[in-house]
């Protein structure tokens, strides 16, 4: 009797040991897949000629590889945060992709053509017809104003979607599906009707010829101009620029250029040696096959004694110094640079000179830095992490998705929480578009296609439960990494179609969803 009484409910659970408690943590699965993909990307991107156990020797992890991979990952990461937080609150947004296209087109058009508010009205003078009154016209829109105008449209649209969903009680799937079609259509229509010169009747669905705003500099004596244009000014102008520079700046630039030219010369020499030796090696193989010992010996001697005069490094001219100096002038459009420029430029410079790691096959600097969207992703992730895990709003988001009626009974303004998250999701899509527009200086009506599903997939892979109330920002980050890495890693696997990454992700999504559901049930007490 006493022994039975002393047995507690908790005794029925097997105690968790050290290893068992690690394995049962919800993050362990996704992090494992992420590490696997890191390894795959590393090993598969090692050039065929090299044999090494160091995954960082691969192309996936050289300077340019890191730059490009992190761009893909962070772009997805930005929208995955918006999508993920919304799913935690129990709703989801299918309009993200169309919102990206819309925001990009809106921003690009205002940058290219300006912004006006035109009111139509009915006039009866000389027969009834429509007249147009221009209330406001801004021909030159600065980057910050373009972003502001775009946010006015996108955030309002996000708010309207949220408002309809909480007021009508319709599933967010349907309402945002409507948003998906509406916004994509609106983007195409607007581009065709506004994106043209007065002498053209119909616009294209792409916006081009936006100046490279992040690279507009103020060149002394020449005014504001694009960096590339400045580099190809007449040589006399360039030399006169150098004359105005302080001596130590010139010394510094010269030193750096000499280093670059030395590297370029070495790379050229190596290339020529390789070119000369390669036919000999092929001949050696043939000779070995035919067992012609004399030929083998002769060719081996030739390879051993193969010599070529090293390429002489180019000497540094004043024009070179001027062009290098132009590269160092900071932009007059810091906002455009903030979203579309590079970050960690001084680190990547240092990795090239003096470290000699960030060097490409031709001896030049490989990557100028990381894309700005990486920084924006990091900032946004930090903010989301603090809000979700550490603030009152975070608790409201979890309870809104976890048990809506409980949240309402305890006075949580669940409708406000949901609407705010729809607005936030639109904000993330706008950030994505802003980075894209200022990076490439173009926009396209098809931009962002299917991104909403990628964002949701990344969130699910990262442990967000589709029914809401469960998930972490760390999970969303890991999900974005897995998605982005899979895309890149499968590209490098030899003899395999690049689209296999989608097959792989399909498996990962279903496996993650099963795992998430299992964890949720365990917490809900159903297992």
């Amino acid at each position: 009797m006493t022994s039975e009484l002393s047995r507690q409910e908790a005794d029925r659970h097997r105690p968790k040991g050290g290893l068992r408690s690690i394995i049962s943590r919800p993050e362990i699965g996704p992090i494992g897949v992420m590490l696997l993909l890191f390894g795959m990307l590393g090993y598969f991107s090692i050039p065929a000629a090299e044999t090494t156990w160091n995954p960082f020797a691969g192309e996936g992890f050289n300077a340019l590889g890191i730059r490009n991979n992190l761009r893909v990952i962070s772009q997805l990461g930005i929208i995955a945060l918006g999508a993920g937080l919304l799913i935690i609150a129990g709703e989801f947004d299918l309009s993200i992709g169309s919102m990206i296209g819309f925001a990009g087109a809106c921003m690009a058009m205002t940058l290219r053509w300006g912004f006006s508010i035109i009111l139509p009205y009915l006039s009866f003078e000389g027969g009834a017809h429509l007249e147009f009154y221009t209330l406001l016209h801004i021909p030159d829109v600065s980057p910050s104003l373009a972003i502001f105008i775009t946010l006015c449209f996108t955030l309002t649209f996000g708010w309207i979607q949220g408002f309809i969903i909480v007021r009508s009680g319709l599933p967010s799937f349907i309402v945002t599906l409507g948003g998906l079609f509406f916004l994509r259509g609106l983007t195409e229509v607007s581009l065709r009707s506004f994106n043209h010169r007065p002498d053209q009747s119909k616009g294209a669905t792409t916006v081009t010829e936006i100046p490279d705003l992040k690279n507009v500099i103020n060149l002394p004596g020449h005014g504001e101009m694009e960096r590339e244009a400045a580099k190809y000014l007449p040589e006399a102008d360039l030399i006169s620029i150098v004359k105005g520079l302080p001596a130590d700046t010139i010394t510094e630039i010269t030193e750096r250029l000499e280093y670059t030219f030395q590297r370029v010369a070495e790379a050229k020499t190596d290339l020529m040696v390789a070119k000369g030796v390669k036919p000999l090696e092929r001949a050696l193989e043939n000779a070995l096959e035919s067992n012609n010992e004399f030929m083998v010996k002769t060719i081996q001697d030739k390879i051993a004694n193969f010599k070529i005069d090293p390429v002489v490094p180019k000497s540094v001219t004043e024009v070179d110094i001027a062009r290098a100096y132009i590269d160092t002038i900071s932009t007059v459009q810091p906002i455009a640079d903030f979203f579309g420029g590079n970050i960690l430029e001084s680190l990547f410079d240092w990795l090239y000179f003096p470290i000699d790691w960030n060097t490409n096959n031709f001896g030049n600097q490989f990557a100028p830095g990381l894309y700005s969207c990486v920084m924006i992703w990091v900032i946004l992730s930090l903010v989301c992490y603090i809000v979700l895990s550490k603030t009152q709003v975070g608790n409201w988001i979890y309870s809104t998705g976890g048990n809506l009626s409980a949240a309402q009974a305890n006075g949580v303004p669940t409708n406000k929480v949901k609407i705010s998250l729809f607005v936030f999701s639109a904000f993330c899509a706008t950030l994505f578009a802003t980075c894209q527009v200022f990076e490439v200086n173009t926009s396209d009506a098809a931009k962002g296609n299917l991104k909403e599903l990628e964002a949701i997939a990344a969130a699910v892979i990262g442990g967000i439960v589709m029914t809401g109330g469960f998930g972490t920002v760390l999970g969303i980050i890991v999900g974005a990494f897995i998605f982005g890495l899979a895309k890149e890693a499968f590209f490098y696997i030899p003899g395999i179609d690049g689209s296999f990454y989608r097959v792989f992700l399909g498996f990962v999504i279903i496996a993650s969803a099963l795992l998430n559901e299992n964890i949720r049930k365990r917490i809900m007490g159903n297992i």
């Binding site: 603030t391 608790n395 409201w396 048990n403 949240a407 305890n410 917490i523």
Partner: protein, 261 residues
């Protein structure tokens, strides 16, 4: 317990509630005293739920008066009722199973540094308060980070009660707290209610179907049938047979075993 001459914490006089042509409550009067468990008994559809909804501000009575600590009061919303100290613990408990004990305890009323909804949570203080408040009514929680879904039904009930008391409930309305629980957990909940009763300053309205539970802890009974009070009294006044008869709405419940034979 408390002598009947002391002032009731909450009192209703001739409470009438009509939904169109349907009369849900037809002149219900009752008094609830601090430190007492007041069992509200009645069959399904008797009007118990309408009565507690009128007391917790969800419904506005058609006529009749509600007095809280002797003052006549009108509730226009549940917020008004909780403002004067009426805490209702509904059957679903209004808990989010997926988050921790502490996050549920303070849901909607989080302690934080700074103003506004983006204030940073005072997690450490909230953990301590949650553990202490639950310990006061008899449940020791080891880990305040434990998700509510992993707790037993009785522990959840305790969490909801402790939360209502901590946030200033003087009148605690418990809506069928023992239904849908196993035997052991029912005992746990009854013990918790007993602990609250022993605190002395809180009046408890207990809605239940279970006469055994009512007999174990109730100090005073009110029986409702078809929207009217058909009997009331203290535990001393009533015999077991009275209680069973009154619970069935006044009808004579014969020997069930004989009828089924």
């Amino acid at each position: 317990m408390v002598d009947a001459s002391s002032q009731p914490l909450i009192e209703t006089q001739n409470l009438v509630k009509k939904f169109g042509s349907f009369t849900a409550l037809n002149g219900v009067s009752l008094k609830v005293f601090p430190g007492e468990v007041h069992a509200l008994l009645g069959d399904n559809g008797a009007g118990k739920s309408t009565l507690i909804k009128a007391l917790s501000g969800v419904h506005q009575p058609t006529s009749g008066k509600i007095f809280v600590e002797g003052k006549e009061t009108r509730f226009n919303s549940p917020r008004d009722a909780s403002g004067v100290g009426i805490g209702t613990v509904y059957q679903d408990l209004a808990l989010n199973s997926l988050t921790s004990v502490t996050r549920n305890f303070f849901l909607g009323r989080e302690m934080k540094f700074g103003k506004g909804p983006f204030g940073i949570l005072k997690m450490k203080e909230m953990h301590e308060i949650a553990i202490n408040e639950m310990a006061k009514i008899g449940i020791k929680i080891e880990d305040p980070e434990q998700p509510v879904g992993t707790m037993s039904g009785g522990q959840r009930q305790t969490l909801a009660i402790a939360r209502a008391i901590y946030f200033g409930a003087k009148v605690l309305i418990l809506d069928e707290p023992t239904s849908a629980l196993g035997q052991l957990q029912q005992m746990e909940v009854l013990k918790t209610i007993k602990k609250v009763q022993q605190l002395g300053h809180i009046a408890i309205i207990l809605i239940t179907h279970n006469e055994i539970h009512a007999r174990l802890i109730a100090d005073r009974y009110t029986f409702i049938s078809l929207g009217e009070v058909i009997g009331s009294g203290t535990s001393k006044d009533l015999e077991s047979d009275d209680i069973r008869r009154l619970m069935a709405g006044g009808a004579k419940v014969g020997d069930l075993a004989k009828e089924l034979a």
